[in-house]
């Protein structure tokens, strides 16, 4: 019998008094895709970081292809052919694609790097594995999140990985890219690689995984075949509760038109886009990666100047030159890259929540700590932010709670129009439900939202209307109930562009 690729037994990990892993097992056979699921705090990240040598385990044994490893360091584990695509450890922003692919494995002649070979091979690898034409000289910082992920995976492949650990690899990918990725993963699996796949998307787990280990409270509570037991059973194992109410219901009452965009063009991103948004409405915005959907949202937040057309708030044309203007008019943005743009992780919950509304809680330029504490405590209680206190640093909060801190920041300055850019990226099922509940609450209070997500099911379920952008043009508008995720995908891919767009809203 062949030894398992990875065999972790009775892994214990304490963080001070916190028992993050409690005799957890993870056994992965070669030639399989092994899912690892659990809610935030269940111990997924911790067990992976133990395997990666980032955390030192407090107990248990680890074997890689039968060989016991006492002390794991990142170098040791990588030498065994175990490669990690961490969710929050991206590439060096100032490196090129080619340099990133061959990081620490650079082709060289003597002490000299073979830049040309590096570039050529990087390009070949990207082309063969992902069918992606990417200039290997492009800087990582100029890549989209999806492209960065692809480069990371390519790097592992270039290093002859035998075990590939993917932590939320699809978080920022659109359907087509996910399909591509899965194709690659299946091929690698058939070549005998062991793949550990961590995802919050249960549909992906059931689609790609041969076996799934379910973690709860630091312990493995089951190893199952997802095709046999089904998603619902796995979610129940994870949560110990009924999650059939993924998308909480909402009473829809729309008020007056709050926001209008008229014939807006911002070359080369989008052209002649018009939209309206009413009080209490959730408007979906979607498109493939690079279609211009994100840029439409950015233009509404003053980040991209319009070449022509206008943006009106309650009928009044706005000058939008920067986010300063947008925020001043009551726009709020929940950015996709939460850690870079949404919250200052090194600052406290209090400082983050009050950041945009300090002027309203200050006298003569001095912050009133009392007023601030009151506003912040109210919002922490109101949104159910799980934190030991207002002075806890945001980096110690879970992804879902960090997202609530972002929303709390905008609620504290009474924003009216919420621009939500992938608000559910990398948060677990429970936190997603909470975010959706929060969106419903905002809508019920008369706030308006534009919701951008690459998870089309979320769009279909949450939005009252959905706009589809394809190659920079608004090609369709669909009311809730008129469309399902598959048709929406077809529309976003341009397949439905022959159809007459329904009710183009040009006020």
């Amino acid at each position: 019998m062949t030894a398992p690729a990875i065999e972790m037994r009775d892994i214990d990990k304490h963080f001070g008094p916190v028992h993050a892993l409690d005799k957890a097992d993870l056994v992965v056979a070669p030639g399989t895709v092994h899912g690892l699921v659990g809610q935030n705090g269940a111990g997924k990240s911790t067990i992976i970081k133990v395997l990666a040598g980032i955390y030192r385990r407090t107990g248990g044994t680890v074997r890689v292809f039968g060989e016991q490893i006492e002390q794991i360091t990142p170098a040791v584990i990588e030498a065994k052919g175990v490669h990690f695509i961490h969710q929050d450890r991206l590439l060096v922003p100032s490196a090129t694609v080619a340099e990133s692919v061959f990081l620490r494995n650079e082709p060289r002649v003597g002490p000299f790097l073979e830049h040309r070979t590096m570039r050529r091979r990087a390009q070949e690898l990207l082309k063969t594995h992902f069918n992606l034409d990417l200039d290997p000289g492009t800087l990582v910082q100029d890549l989209s999140t999806a492209q960065q992920k692809i480069v990371q995976i390519t790097r592992a492949l270039a290093n002859d990985a035998r075990v590939l650990v993917l932590d939320e690899p699809t978080a920022a990918l659109v359907k087509k890219e996910v399909d591509n990725l899965f194709e690659v993963l299946r091929r690698l699996r058939d070549d005998g690689l062991a793949i550990i796949f961590i995802s919050h998307y249960m549909s992906e787990i059931s689609e790609i995984c041969d076996t799934v280990t379910v973690l709860r409270n630091g312990t493995d509570v089951g190893v199952v075949d997802p095709r046999e037991v089904g998603i619902q059973r796995i979610v129940d194992m994870m949560t110990n509760r009924d999650t059939s109410e993924m998308y909480p219901p909402r009473d829809v009452t729309h008020g007056e038109v709050v926001l209008e965009m008229r014939d807006a063009t911002a070359e080369p991103h989008f052209r002649n886009v018009s939209l309206t948004l009413r009080e209490g409405e959730i408007l979906g915005l979607t498109g493939l990666l690079g279609s211009g959907d994100k840029e439409v949202m950015n233009a509404l937040f003053g980040q991209i100047p319009l070449d022509s057309g206008e943006i009106l708030l309650r009928g009044k044309p706005l000058r939008m030159r920067s986010p300063v203007d947008a925020v001043g008019q009551g726009f709020a943005k929940i950015p996709e890259d939460r850690r870079a743009h949404g919250v200052a992780t090194a600052l406290s919950v209090r400082e983050n929540i009050s950041l945009a509304s300090l002027l309203s809680m200050s006298k003569r330029g001095l912050v009133s700590r009392k007023d601030e504490a009151r506003v912040v405590d109210d919002l922490i209680a109101d949104l159910g932010i799980k934190t030991p206190g207002r002075d806890q640093l945001v980096k110690n909060l879970s992804g879902g709670n960090q997202q609530k801190v972002v929303v709390a920041k905008w609620l504290s300055c009474e924003s009216e129009v919420y621009l939500m850019d992938e608000p559910t990226v990398a948060v677990d099922v429970g936190a997603k439900i909470e975010i959706f509940t929060l969106m419903n609450r905002l809508a019920a209070e008369g706030k308006s939202m534009i919701f951008l997500s690459s998870d089309l099911e979320e769009i279909v379920e949450m939005c009252d209307r959905t706009l589809v952008i394809y190659r920079g043009e608004l090609i369709g508008e669909y009311a809730k109930g008129d469309i399902d995720a598959d048709r929406l995908l077809a529309a976003a891919s341009g397949a439905a562009s022959d159809e007459t767009p329904k009710e183009r809203s040009t006020a």
Partner: protein, 328 residues
């Protein structure tokens, strides 16, 4: 997917508090050590000299630097602000102008340095290190050109005494004016950095500039204010410096640059929140000044003094980060 493992606050705090006290205790130990082994360390004359000549001016420059570093920047041109302020001040006095005008002139010169920095950084988007390095070079040239290649201006004759006496000699309740200026500056920077809306924006800029931008706050405006404030504060130091020595010696401001940066980072390392703070910076300045003075008095070879300072910096950082690691 972030695992929720918030460190228990009480434990966290006790460690941070411990590392705080450890540095304060180390400071007290150093003072006690020199009090015992360095002859004359505790004498009134030495302490006065220590405070007036080693602490006050450096502390004021370091306060300005604290603001800049808190905002995530660095200002290599603080010496230029000190020098130009000092130069204009002395030149105006030499030209027979009144002390008030001369002080205003000196401050204006320093503020100009800050404005140039602000424009380079916020308009031309040059990173603060390079922008202020450029200003440092240009500032040196300006001084050379204005002083025939770097000739000091001494104003020792009695007729010039009045303005200097007004600045240095008099004081409230026997406290020398430079000390009062330092206290006022420390209070002002404390309020600006730790109590005001402006200070919140500054701290947030230092922690995550993009988050500040995405929150609809005017990043360039606040960055500009930070650099102008730093230059203005350094200008105050320049006026105190030339009043104390009754002269302008070109490039003498450069001596404060590295110490100011060092004091700020020592202060950051020992602050509970690991952020630049007024209290931390002042403690950092005191540590550096006491070490320098004490080593001199116990007769350490001058050449080797910097080694003592270097070891001190490593010790401070080692103690504070070592204790912090333990928490991991």
């Amino acid at each position: 997917m972030t695992d929720t493992t918030p460190p228990t606050p009480s434990r966290n705090l006790s460690f941070e508090a411990l590392s705080n006290y450890a540095v304060i205790a180390a400071f007290v130990l150093i003072v006690v050590f020199f009090a015992i082994f360095a002859d004359g360390f505790l004498s009134g004359e030495n302490l006065m000299n220590l405070v007036l000549n080693k602490v006050v001016i450096l502390a004021i420059v370091a306060l300005g630097m604290t603001l800049v570093i808190a905002a995530g920047g660095i200002d290599l041109s603080v010496g230029v602000s000190v020098d130009l302020s000092s130069m204009i001040f002395i030149m105006m006095i030499a030209a027979g102008m009144s002390g008030v005008f001369a002080v205003a002139g000196g401050l204006a010169a320093a503020i100009c340095v800050g404005i140039v920095n602000a424009i380079l950084i916020n308009r031309l988007k040059i990173n603060p290190f390079l922008a202020t390095l450029g200003v440092l070079f240009i500032g040196e040239t300006v001084q050379r050109v204005s002083t025939q290649g770097g000739v000091p201006i001494y104003l020792t004759r009695g007729e010039y005494s009045a303005p200097f006496d007004a600045i240095v000699r008099t004081g409230l309740f026997g406290v020398p004016t430079p000390v009062i200026v330092l206290i006022v500056a420390a209070l002002a920077v404390y309020i600006a950095l730790h109590r005001s809306v402006f200070g919140r924006y500054v701290s947030a800029l230092g922690a995550a500039p993009d988050v500040v931008r995405y929150s609809g706050i005017r990043v360039p405006l606040h960055m500009s204010m930070v650099f102008i404030a730093c230059a203005a504060i350094s200008g105050v130091a320049g006026i105190l410096l030339s009043s104390t020595v009754r002269s302008y010696v070109p490039f003498s401001g450069d001596a404060f640059l590295l110490d100011a940066i060092g004091a700020t980072f020592i202060g950051t390392a020992i602050s509970a929140e690991r952020r630049p703070s007024v209290f931390g910076t002042l403690l950092g300045v005191l540590l550096l000044a006491v070490m320098r003075n004490g080593l001199l008095l116990i007769g350490w070879n001058f050449f080797w003094q910097q080694v003592g300072i270097g070891v001190l910096v490593f010790l401070v950082l080692g103690v504070s980060f070592g204790l912090r690691r333990r928490n991991d």
